[in-house]
C-alpha cells in the first residue's frame, strides 16, 4: 500500500479556504420547496403529535410516580431500580425473549418454505396464499378465541387429535410447562402470513436467469435454494426479521385472551406488565419506565439483527 509523503521544507502558507458562494434558490425552486414542506406537514404533525410527544413524555414519566389522578412526582431512577428488582418483570422479560426466540426464526423459516412453494406456480396458488395470509388479517382476539377452544383440555381439537395416536392430552394453557409453548405456537402460526407475503414479493424480483445458469451447471434444487434464493432474499430477510422482532416483543392480545399472563405468571410478557402497571395498578410512571426498557430491548435486538444480516454483504 502506498503512502503519500509530505515533502520536508519550509512551512507553506496555505491560502484561506474559499467558501463556495451561498446558493440562491430561484423563485420556482423556493415554491417547490414550500410545496414539499406543505405536503409533508400533515405527516409531520401526525408524527409529532402522536409519536414524538408521547415518546418524549414516556421517557420523562419514567422518572416519576404518576397515578393519573394526581400530578407526576419526580422520583429519579426509583422505577428502574424496582424494575430490576421485580421478579415478575424479570420473568416477563425472559418470557418475551423466549417467545421472540422461538416465534421469529420458526415462522420465518416456515414462511420462506411456503413462499418458495407458492412461487412455483402450484394449482390453487391464490387460494393457498389467501389461506396462509388469513390469520394476519384476522383480529388476534378472534384467533385467540379459536385457539382457546383448540387448547381446551376436555373438548379441544388438539387433545382429540393427539388422542387418535394414543398420546395423552395436556392442560395446554393451565400447565406452566406447556402454557408458554402454546402461546408460542399461536404466535408462530399467526406470523407466517405477512412474512410469506413479503418473501413472495421478494422472490418475484429474483432474476430467473440465475436459476437457469445454475441449472445449466447442474445445480440441484436444494443447492439453488441455498446458493441463489436465500442470498437474493437477504434484504427481505432483514426486513422480515426486524418487523418480526418488533411484533414479537409487542405481543399482547393473545396473552390477554389466552392466559391473562398465567398460570402463575408463566406467560406474562413485557407488554402485558406495562398494561398491568398502567391500567390495573394505575402506575403510569412505572408503565412508562417499563416501556423505556422495552424500547431499548427492541433497539438492541434490531441492531443485532441488522449486524447479523449485513455481515456477509
Amino acid at each position: 500500500m502506498s503512502r503519500t509523503e509530505t515533502p520536508a521544507g519550509p512551512t507553506q502558507v496555505l491560502p484561506a479556504p474559499v467558501r463556495p458562494p451561498k446558493r440562491t434558490h430561484s423563485p420556482a425552486e423556493r415554491k417547490l420547496r414550500r410545496s414539499g414542506w406543505l405536503m409533508v406537514l400533515p405527516a409531520l404533525l401526525h408524527i409529532g403529535l402522536w409519536t414524538a410527544i408521547p415518546v418524549v413524555a414516556t421517557f420523562a414519566l419514567g422518572f416519576t410516580d404518576y397515578n393519573v389522578f394526581s400530578p407526576p412526582r419526580w422520583i429519579g431512577l426509583d422505577n428502574y431500580v424496582e424494575i430490576v428488582q421485580d421478579p415478575v418483570f424479570r420473568k416477563a422479560t425472559w418470557n418475551t425473549i423466549q417467545y421472540t426466540f422461538w416465534t421469529v426464526p420458526v415462522s420465518m423459516f416456515i414462511a420462506l418454505v411456503i413462499a418458495v412453494a407458492l412461487n412455483q406456480g402450484l394449482r390453487l396458488q391464490k387460494w393457498y396464499r389467501t389461506a396462509f395470509f388469513l390469520p394476519q388479517v384476522t383480529a388476534t382476539v378472534a384467533i385467540a378465541m379459536v385457539w382457546l377452544w383448540i387448547f381446551n383440555p376436555q373438548q379441544g381439537l388438539l387433545n382429540a387429535f393427539l388422542g387418535v395416536f394414543g398420546i395423552p392430552g395436556q392442560a395446554w394453557l393451565a400447565d406452566p410447562d406447556w402454557a408458554l409453548w402454546s402461546v408460542i405456537l399461536v404466535g408462530a402460526w399467526q406470523g407466517i402470513g405477512i412474512k410469506m407475503l413479503i418473501y413472495i414479493a421478494a422472490l418475484q424480483n429474483v432474476d430467473e436467469s440465475l436459476y437457469e445458469a445454475a441449472s445449466v451447471d447442474g445445480a440441484s434444487t436444494v443447492r439453488k435454494f441455498f446458493a441463489i434464493t436465500v442470498p437474493m432474499l437477504k434484504p427481505a430477510t432483514f426486513f422480515v426479521l426486524v418487523i418480526s422482532i418488533i411484533n414479537a416483543f409487542q405481543v399482547f392480545d393473545q396473552i390477554y385472551v389466552l392466559t391473562d399472563g398465567g398460570p402463575a405468571n408463566a406467560t406474562t410478557m413485557m407488554t402485558y406488565e406495562v398494561y398491568r402497571s398502567a391500567f390495573e395498578e394505575f402506575r403510569m410512571g412505572m408503565a412508562s419506565a417499563q416501556s423505556v426498557v422495552l424500547f431499548f430491548f427492541l433497539l438492541f435486538m434490531t441492531l443485532v439483527g441488522r449486524r447479523a444480516t449485513r455481515e456477509d454483504s
Binding site: 389522578f69 394526581s70 383440555p153 395423552p168 392442560a171 393451565a174 402463575a264 391500567f279 390495573e280 402506575r283
Partner: protein, 435 residues
C-alpha cells in the same frame, strides 16, 4: 296463575318503588335547605353514563328502551349518553377518562373500586346532594353500604351483587350416600374425595369439588372467609390474608388438588363454556349466583339437583362483589347525574338490571320480589348476606388485586408453599399500601 303472579309482582314492585321514592324524598327533604339538592323538573343537562352492566343486546335494550324512557318521563330536560364497557375494560376507560378530563358524570364500578377512586378525588360525595349513610342503611345491609363509603363519605349506591358460595349436585351426592352438603371442612374433603371419579388411566372425569371454574382470587377469598379470615386488618393498613386462617385456606385448596387429587390443574377454567356443575363434571364447587340463570337456559330440569350451601370452616364462606353507581366529582350537571344514579338504584330499575344478569339485588326489600323468590340461588344469597364478606378495603386494592391470582396459582401448582406464596403477596400488598 300467571295473572296472579304478575299482579303480585306488580304490587311488590310498586310497593318497593314507593318505599324508595319516599326514602329519596326524605333524603331530599333532609337537606331541603341545600339549594343544590335535586328537584324534579328543575334538573337538566347532558350527562354521560359509563356502565359495565347493561352490556350486550339484551342489556342495551333494557336500558335504552325500558329504563331510560322512564327516567326521561321524570326528568325531561336531562339527556343521557351511554358508554357501554365491560369490567375487563373499565379500568382503561376510567384511566383514559381521568387523563383526558372527560370523566363520565355517572360511573358504575365494582365493590372494592370505590375506595381507590374516592381517595383520588374522582368521585363525588353523594351526601352533598342528600344521600346519606343513614338513609342507605334503611334499605341495604351494613356490609353493602360499607362497600360504597370511604373516609366517612358516601361515594356509591349499590345496584347489584355478585355472590360466590358452595353449590352441590344433590343427585350425585345422593348416589354416593350423602343427603346434605358438607357442614365442615373435614366433611368437604371426605365428600369431595368420595365424589371424585377417575377412569382406569387415572384421567379425571368428575371433580368432587371444583375450584378451577372461578377466578383464583375469588376462590381463595371464599375459602379465606370460610376460615374466618379477613383480607386486611381492621383499619385496612396491613394485609391479614397471610395469617393462620389464610394459610389454612390456601393449604386446603392446595391439598384438594395435590394431595386429595380432587381436581386436576386445567380440568376446568373461567373460560369454560358450561360450568362443570351443570354438566355433571363436578359434584360440588364454588359457584357464582348466576349459575342458576345458566342452568335455566341450559337444562331447567336439572336445577332441582343444585343445592347452594355456605362453605363452613371456622367461619362462613360467602363472598360478595357487585356493581355500584357513582357520580363524578367534576360533573357539570351534578343534580342530573345524581338523579340518574338514584333512578338506576331505585327498586324498579335495579330489579330489572339484576333480573337481566341473574344477579342479587342489593336492596333488602327486593327479597320479596317474584324474581328473587323464583331464583333459588339469588334468594339464598340474599338470605345469607349477613354472613357474606366483600373484597377490597384499602384504597390500593385495585393496584394489588391482580397479584392475588398468580400467588394462589403458584401454591396450587406446587411452586411455592401456601405460607410463602401468601407472605410474598403480603409483601407486595404492604409495599403498595405504604407507597
Amino acid at each position: 296463575m300467571i295473572m296472579k303472579s304478575l299482579t303480585r309482582r306488580r304490587v311488590a314492585v310498586t310497593a318497593a318503588l314507593s318505599t324508595l321514592a319516599l326514602g329519596l324524598a326524605a333524603c331530599s327533604s333532609g337537606s331541603s335547605d341545600d339549594a343544590s339538592a335535586p328537584l324534579e323538573g328543575e334538573v337538566s343537562g347532558d350527562i354521560t353514563l359509563l356502565t359495565p352492566i347493561f352490556e350486550g343486546t339484551a342489556g342495551q335494550k333494557l336500558l335504552e328502551d325500558e329504563l331510560l324512557p322512564k327516567f326521561y318521563e321524570e326528568y325531561p330536560d336531562v339527556t343521557v349518553s351511554v358508554d357501554y364497557t365491560t369490567y375487563g375494560n373499565l379500568n382503561e376507560k376510567l384511566t383514559t377518562a381521568a387523563v383526558s378530563g372527560a370523566v363520565p358524570d355517572v360511573m358504575m364500578m365494582g365493590v372494592g373500586w370505590i375506595e381507590g377512586f374516592a381517595e383520588r378525588g374522582l368521585l363525588a360525595d353523594l351526601s352533598d346532594l342528600g344521600l346519606t349513610e343513614d338513609e342507605l342503611l334503611k334499605s341495604y345491609t351494613p356490609a353493602i353500604v360499607d362497600a360504597g363509603t370511604w373516609d366517612g363519605g358516601v361515594y356509591a349506591v349499590p345496584i347489584m351483587l355478585d355472590t360466590r358460595f358452595g353449590v352441590a349436585r344433590m343427585d350425585l351426592l345422593k348416589e354416593a350416600g350423602y343427603d346434605a352438603p358438607p357442614q365442615t371442612w373435614d366433611e368437604l374433603v371426605e365428600m369431595a374425595q368420595a365424589l371424585t371419579v377417575r377412569d382406569d388411566k387415572g384421567t379425571l372425569e368428575r371433580t368432587g369439588f371444583d375450584i378451577m371454574s372461578l377466578d383464583s382470587r375469588q376462590a381463595f377469598e371464599t375459602m379465606l372467609f370460610s376460615a374466618d379470615g379477613d383480607l386486611f386488618d381492621d383499619d385496612d393498613t396491613a394485609p391479614a390474608f397471610n395469617g393462620p386462617e389464610g394459610t389454612s385456606a390456601l393449604q386446603l385448596m392446595t391439598d384438594l388438588v395435590n394431595e386429595y387429587k380432587v381436581e386436576d390443574i386445567g380440568f376446568s377454567s373461567t373460560d369454560e363454556a358450561v360450568n362443570p356443575l351443570l354438566n355433571g363434571r363436578a359434584a360440588m364447587g364454588i359457584a357464582h349466583n348466576n349459575l342458576w340463570t345458566q342452568g335455566l337456559e341450559a337444562d331447567p330440569e336439572m336445577l332441582d339437583n343444585l343445592e347452594p350451601f355456605i362453605i363452613q370452616g371456622d367461619g362462613q364462606g360467602m363472598f360478595f362483589g357487585g356493581t355500584l353507581a357513582t357520580r363524578s366529582a367534576t360533573s357539570k350537571n351534578p343534580e342530573a347525574a345524581q338523579a340518574l344514579l338514584e333512578f338506576l338504584a331505585s327498586p324498579d330499575a335495579a330489579l330489572a338490571a339484576n333480573e337481566q344478569r341473574g344477579n342479587v339485588p342489593a336492596l333488602t326489600e327486593l327479597l320479596d320480589s317474584d324474581y328473587v323468590q323464583g331464583n333459588r340461588f339469588v334468594q339464598f344469597a340474599m338470605e345469607n348476606l349477613d354472613v357474606a364478606k366483600r373484597e377490597g378495603g384499602p384504597a390500593e386494592w385495585l393496584e394489588v388485586r391482580g397479584d392475588f391470582a398468580p400467588a394462589v396459582e403458584s401454591a396450587l401448582l406446587g411452586q411455592k408453599e401456601p405460607q410463602d406464596a401468601l407472605d410474598d403477596l403480603a409483601g407486595l400488598v404492604q409495599t403498595a399500601i405504604d407507597r
